[in-house]
């Protein structure tokens, strides 16, 4: 990795952290360059604009997640678990930075939307294949697979990414996930276990600040 590449990736790393912790709009280029100890001109030597940088940051995130998702897709898990696993992989790790704290806030609408678009693009083909696998195994039965996959993705975003959701929301999500793919009732029930396990520690307050 030559020097330029290294600097660029360093900037992307800083930006990623800032964007995720305090939002894209609330992060100024000045903050980024101050933290990186470089001048304005250097920043714009590496990036056309702040927005283009966001694009690269998101690309970075998605690519990383796509790797994990791809592993799941080619694993020997049962198909329903694969599907949920892939969806989960494509969502920012709750531990890494306080993502649900800031990423999903209204000020972050732009970033949120862009992530969603990239994510859907990467995710639909991968998931469609898995669903077709399920159809082959006889546990799913439906037409228009890509459209249904896209819908499941949207459903999952809408239900779980907006911060809070009730047990009823989860129940309806499970019900619809089954019906979406024509699966037998109960096929997706395991989801509820995963979700409470993963999101139970959703503290209303509770980030211990990280900036120096």
């Amino acid at each position: 990795m030559k020097k330029g590449e290294k600097r660029k990736s360093e900037l992307l790393q800083i930006a990623y952290r800032l964007f995720v912790s305090k939002g894209y709009e609330n992060t100024s280029v000045d903050e980024i360059i101050e933290e990186a100890k470089i001048a304005k001109g250097t920043y714009y030597y590496y990036f056309e604009s702040k927005e283009q940088m966001l694009e690269e940051v998101i690309g970075m995130m998605i690519d990383k997640e796509a790797g994990a998702a791809s592993d799941i897709a080619s694993s020997d898990m049962p198909v329903p678990q694969k599907i949920i696993g892939i969806i989960a992989a494509f969502r920012p790790a709750p531990d890494e930075h306080s993502i649900e704290g800031a990423l999903m806030q209204p000020e972050n609408a732009i970033m949120h939307r862009k992530i969603k678009l990239h994510l859907v693009d990467k995710c639909v083909p991968m998931l469609s294949e898995v669903v077709n696998e399920g159809i082959g195994q006889g546990i799913f039965d439906c037409d228009h697979v890509p459209e249904r996959v896209r819908m499941l993705l949207n459903l999952s975003n809408d239900t779980f990414d907006e911060g809070q959701f009730s047990e009823n929301d989860v129940a309806v999500f499970i019900d619809m996930a089954e019906k979406l793919f024509g699966a037998a009732p109960g096929t997706m029930d395991f989801i509820s276990g995963l979700i409470t396990k993963q999101y139970d520690n959703n503290l209303p307050e509770g980030h211990s600040g990280g900036e120096k």
Copy 2:
């Protein structure tokens, strides 16, 4: 209506038009005050901030649409038609200003999101009542009505508000709308007719500019 009120509503009107036609972010306060022929100070006499003004503009829109939706809810249409009618009422008129041209563009993510939030809040109670009516009539059969209504709303947003959608998308939407409420297959088929009627003239290019 005293003088102040009138001016404020005039400003809201101008802002509405500009926000809708070119997006919230792409509309500057300077443009608004120039069009209204007032000074900066006057603007900030009426509005705390640009964002607060957006909030009021959206409130205006939603209230207006809620009126139309309420009429539909209390009409004697069949329940499925009511539901779709209400959803349609809560979506900016395609004729009024080139809403799908700008409102749904990525730059407008903030406005889009805010509208969605307000809309869901207003819409869920109204639609839930109608769905319960349908359950009473025996054409629907489901639990967790508000959650399902919210999901339908999200589904509709995701499918139709992102600009383009295929026939398959519509087919899946109809299928899921039926299954969401436990309706008999075919109950929602009339939607496809409405949609092609309403959206067939979705010209890829084709807005004849409106600014002087």
